[in-house]
Symmetry: C2
Subunit: 373 residues, 2 copies
């Protein structure tokens, strides 16, 4: 027989999930109602409106994919791409690379803009890519590269893509509800995110949104979408439309939690939330640099909410990370891909973005006799 579920009370300061608010956890435990219950239909409508508000968009085709952020990424790509389409994808970390992988599985001819991990893609890079591929179906960028902590400027690139007649697609998994993000104002045509980063809801869902121009592309497809589960021509009738049509069974409890987390974001206000992430980042940055940590990313392109840093020389990052978790219950993230074993990724996202979190981490480090600074 298996024992009762016993978990330690962690302080989540890695790349996600972040700490969830008690109100969100409470919402998760609400007794279930049917997914076609009129009460649940109302909740879906409310969630849709709140996702529109937090994306700052009026896009009708805004809803929540019933699976984690990676499935949101795949939703955007499988629906917008048809075999033989040419697309441009920026690759400056793990998640740009993942988009390339998925786009290729959709039969796309992918033109990569590859830049060094930790740096961002410039308008010059994009112009050069557009010379090789002047009529892309879409150009996709990662707003906040979770693997490196780099913040990609989007607004200027949007115009370049639109002038070339392409759609502008954005990965906002780590930026959503933590950093300035304005879907309509920035001309983003397709966007996906996750729930477990700056929104501080449990992982498992992926809010997405598509502009009217993207919807036109969907409606003009000549081939069927290769995924049934992610096919927007089917899913859109489940999340809206005149008559609610059964598609799959939505994760009722996770939607309850998502609703509560969105409510908390709107109570705080998006602007205030963005400012909070910047302010706590400044405190963390000063303290980390005093201890001898060095940032991977140049200051103007640094994510406030995901701090990727080299440790002071002479430290064993894996040992320290394990001790932080075991002795202090604090989780920070290790490096991914090229940076595995080399950097830490320290998340201050959503409910994990407080001065207390910074102080707990910094004091724990100072306490640890294994930490050399």
């Amino acid at each position: 027989m298996y024992s009762e579920l016993k978990t330690s009370t962690r302080i989540l300061m890695g790349p996600g999930p972040s700490d969830a608010h008690p109100r969100v956890l409470k919402a998760m435990a609400t007794p279930l109602i049917g997914h076609l219950d009129p009460e649940f239909v109302t909740i879906m409508d409310e969630v849709k409106t709140m996702v529109q508000e937090t994306f700052i968009t009026k896009n009708h085709l805004t809803f929540v994919v019933s699976a984690p952020g990676s499935a949101g990424m795949e939703t955007c790509l499988v629906n917008l791409i048809e075999p033989g389409d040419e697309v441009i994808i920026g690759v400056n970390g793990v998640f740009g690379g993942r988009m390339v992988d998925i786009a290729e599985r959709c039969g796309a001819i992918v033109h990569k803009i590859e830049v060094e991990w930790g740096t961002v893609i410039s308008t010059d890079h994009v112009k050069k890519a557009l010379e090789k591929c002047p009529k892309p179906k879409l150009l996709a960028l990662v707003h906040a590269e979770t693997s490196t902590g780099a913040l990609q400027p989007l607004k200027e690139i949007s115009d370049l893509v639109h002038n070339a007649g392409g759609l502008f697609m954005v990965d906002a998994v780590t930026s959503y509800c933590g950093i300035e993000l304005k879907v309509d104002e920035w001309g983003i045509d397709a966007i996906y995110t996750g729930t477990q980063k700056c929104l501080s809801a449990p992982p498992g869902l992926s809010p997405v949104s598509f502009s009217d121009k993207a919807v036109q592309v969907l409606e003009n497809r000549k081939t069927k979408v290769q995924s049934w589960f992610l096919d927007l021509s089917l899913v859109k009738n489940y999340w809206g439309g005149a008559k609610r049509a059964y598609h799959h069974t939505a994760p009722v409890s996770s939607v309850f939690a998502l609703r509560e987390s969105l409510r908390i974001v709107l109570e705080e206000g998006l602007d205030n939330r963005w400012v909070r992430h910047q302010k706590v980042h400044q405190v963390l940055k000063t303290k980390l640099e005093t201890l001898g940590f060095q940032y991977l990313v140049e200051e103007p392109y640094r994510l406030p909410n995901l701090n990727s840093v080299f440790l002071p020389k002479g430290n064993d990052e894996a040992l320290l990370r394990t001790k932080l978790l075991n002795d202090y219950n604090i989780e920070v993230g290790g490096g991914l891909g090229a940076f595995a074993g080399k950097i830490w990724r320290i998340g201050i996202m959503g409910e994990s973005c407080t001065n207390n979190h910074v102080n707990m981490l910094v004091s724990a480090l100072e306490d640890m006799k294994e930490f050399k600074y």
Copy 2:
């Protein structure tokens, strides 16, 4: 501003979700831990073992897809099928039809065994199909057709498929943990299910399992799986393997809940649970027939846990269903597809499978002045 989450206390007697046990809801509300936390890795291992126990299989490749049952269906098909493969799929309701749709999106040549909705597929049907398609890559059947309430015998068909050199794939969404199901003994090579039916966990996850023969087929693929999110060659290293490799972020809270629901199943014992569903079904059946309800499916092929019934003549099914929900908080399901507006689907699944549930429903019907019997 949006109001606090307020839901009615529903009695869930539709086709799913079913009522969740308070212990499961409590597990959902456990504060989050990281998805790569050693404690979570242990929980994933425990869940894997409990899924093996409840499927009654020793299959190594047994894990949980981070999305609802439909994504489990798609996981099986996109991984096992390559373009040009010939497959046989039984269609006697909505979910067989859905498998055909997905298999075609995978580029398969699909041979359908179509029989009347509410009936099941016989060994003779299968033999005839094997004459037209003597070397199928796989043959897929729905064990418990949620749209009709029909229970498909599997064991005899398994041998026919294996003798033809094909894989035997089964949809066990509505049967798992409610009706006898023995993956190894019945020679099932690929199986998927959902969490929100007889397991009584919240919807959103899909336990799956693959035989060693199916794993060989996966390993001998010549083409990449068309879905990145569902690609088993990647996912399997997240759910096991020597070194746990990051793939996506698992829905931590839902996995907590799944673990607790599996623990409850194993505490009761699978055999006892199957017997309970049969016993409560007999009580429900007698009472429904006394009221003039008629079963859609012939007795030997009737699902105990999902009772699809025609109402006594002269009743407005939609009106009664709405009144049951509004006045008594009881949810029953309407018909799907060909049976929309014609039948009710009354679920007694998992925590919703008690004599009290039967009595609440039957007494409410007797109370309602609109109900003619």
